[in-house]
Amino acid sequence: MRKVGIVGAGITECRGRWVEATYWELFQQATRRACEDAKVTVDELDSVVYGIYNDIFEHQAIPESSLTGLIGMANKPGTRVTSGGATGFYAMRTAVMEVASGVSDCVLCVGGEKATDCFDPRSKSATPMVIDTIAKSWDPFYEYPLGATASDSYMQMCMGYDDTYPGDISDSDVRARMIEILCHSGNRNPYAQRREESVTVDQVKASRWIIAPFLRLLEACMYTEGAGAIVFASEDKAREIAERTGQPPVWIRGIGAANESYSPGRGGNYKPLNRIASDRIAAERAYQAAGVKPSDIKIIEAHDAFVAQLMITMGELGFVPIGKTRKLIDEGIMLDPKDLADDEAPGDGQLLINPSGGLIFGGHFVGGSNMFSTWSCRREMINRQIPLGLVHGTGAINACFGGAMVLELDEGGAR
């Protein structure tokens, strides 16, 4: 397997709705910015991997077909990846494999979503239709007819965790403080959907229940329209591009993935509902491939669909003990970006978690959210000279899809 590096990244502004652009324009904008960042033309890109989660949102059964020419990928191989909330992660994994295998030297990975063109005629608003479209990710026989939604599915898993490990994710003060920190991170991200917002602990605790008692309105990710693109290159190509850009390559040091069974149950291969085993297995595989341990990593861009889930995920990724993830706040492990200069690295015992603002404040355009996380992780690693970082993705019913990618800043790579 060949060494693979990130040489360019571009994202669009994250918005609740883009009336000024369709997904054609959003994908092109992200691609254009990634090419500008890598100082490459589309002629240098050998192939493309698309992350597009849901045909219904784009309102086209083969949405990538209409993008091909518009993003300069005519007559090149193109693969579409769709894996629920983890679509972005799996699209990047596919792109990395394509370079690592030697099939391509330089691959564009672009993903995005146009969700809020959906409209519910009865409530005369978008949200119930967006929820319903995502709910179509559940099977039509057993789960969808019961009213399954992404929120209740993730909260079912959080409740299972709380049944087993009481007193951890159930403290609303801890969760609200995490939200406050994520808000401060979002304020620093020029592309974040909620970059202008100021959310306090008290506001989080006073916001409405979505699913009691673990999910209030201000504890959830948003529906976002946007796109993100990453350019992956082989070692030789990456070094050549780094000469042009003056930016160090960020290497993919290890990548791991795991999908749990759809059905929850006891024993066998059934999904245990009180853990996110997919996160744990994926991270262990990524650490093993990279030859690192969680204590070597200071920056994480994790998929925070909901803050209670983020706490469990941080436990599964090995940064805090399962059952005691509240240590992130109780012991000051999760840094508030306000306490750190923009070029400063976290100190011992500290972690920079979702400096982009995460999916909660940054944005969640499902097919490209993990590219958004990767864009941020790379940016922060370069700006702060942090040697190792972790990008995480999760998705599907009861958080049963998981992925993790260890990034490494090039040794010789000064800014």
Binding site: R15, L146, T149, Q156, G160, W209, L273
Partner: protein, 336 residues
């Protein structure tokens, strides 16, 4: 989302007028948007799942059993064991009682297809408790004590399987209720039908009247009337109320009042109005002051401080909850 037999598969009001309309972008420019849809109808086969749903129609719950690993799969999602090199599985009858595998979430804001059903509970039931390996059945959970609320469906409670009286072959043909709510004589009945349990209006809670609550109610009524006045100046709030017509009584520890919704406005009437659709109960009238100041009646209902007689009474609450925000946004825009 139970569509009665013979009704259109797509509800008739689930539609939009065809049009191309203008919409302003953030850049101040005008853009166009067009009405369209992506509806596909199906006559979707249940295929290998048909046996499971035919059993439900017959008042039976079945699973697939593997003689090698002894696992029980319910629902019978396959008849070939994925654990044992796809060995053939056999049909077994399952008990009509089970255990809630984990505390269940209560959905308050449902998807478009389930508007009107909230709040509802969905959880996973461990039915084949004797089997060493078993799947959990995705299940609808109901209570005979009123609305589904947190604290009822907690991990480990024993549940009784209930069948709808009229069944068509759907996972919604069945639901589970806490065993403690089932009269002793019915606990072993197979199948137990929904009509054999009492889901009618439960007894409302008693309120304790005192002078402090009377003063709190006075304050709440003044706050609500101020909000009602603001709704008269708010396009967004009027849009929230458009098409809704209700007269609802409220019994509190500080006295009674009624909320009237009509013609895209709402008003507060002191006392319980004759002809009220139903009566809500809240010992503490302050929840209505909190509502006006960006609190939430929905939260009060979920937390149990606002008692509702039935699910239909819940449907107005998210609409009322929008009013403080809508009026504030319009009044703020006006000031700009």
């Amino acid at each position: 989302m139970t569509i009665p037999k013979g009704q259109p598969a797509l509800p008739v009001d689930f539609n939009l007028e065809s049009e191309v309309s203008e919409i302003e972008g953030r850049d101040g420019e005008t853009y166009l948007q067009f009405t369209t849809h992506m509806v596909t109808f199906y006559k979707q086969t249940y295929g290998e799942h048909s046996r499971f749903f035919m059993a439900l129609r017959d008042g039976r719950l079945i699973g697939a059993h593997c003689s090698q690993c002894k696992q029980v799969m319910v629902p019978a999602a396959t008849w070939h064991c994925p654990n044992c090199n796809f060995a053939e599985m056999t049909e077994i009858d399952l008990p009509h009682r089970g255990v809630l595998a984990y505390t269940a979430p209560i959905t308050i804001f449902p998807s478009a297809s389930f508007l009107g059903d909230a709040p509802f509970a969905r959880g996973y039931v461990d039915v084949a408790t004797e089997a060493p390996i078993a799947s959990f059945l995705p299940s609808r959970l109901r209570t005979t004590t009123g609305l589904e609320r947190p604290g009822i469906f907690v991990k480990g409670i024993e549940l009784k399987l209930v069948f709808e009286d009229e069944r068509q072959g759907s996972i919604r043909d069945i639901f589970w209720v806490p065993m403690t709510e089932v009269p002793q004589g019915l606990r072993d009945k197979k199948p137990l039908l929904a009509s054999e349990l009492d889901f009618t209006t439960p007894e409302p809670p008693a309120v304790h009247k005192d002078a402090v609550k009377a003063a709190a109610l006075k304050e709440a009524i003044a706050a609500m009337r101020k909000l009602a006045g603001d709704v008269g100046k708010s396009r967004r709030a009027q849009a929230d109320l458009a098409g809704h017509e209700h007269l609802v009584g409220v019994n509190t520890g500080g006295g009674d009042f009624s909320i009237s919704v009509a013609d895209s406005r709402f008003s507060i009437v002191e006392g319980l109005s004759a002809g009220a659709e139903h009566t809500l109960v809240a010992d503490d009238p302050e929840i209505f002051t909190r509502w006006v100041h960006d609190g939430s009646l929905t939260d009060a209902a979920v937390e149990g401080t606002l008692w509702l007689p039935h699910k239909e009474a819940f449907q107005l609450l998210p609409i009322l909850d929008r009013l403080p925000r809508s009026t504030r946004r319009d009044l703020r825009d006006e000031k700009k």
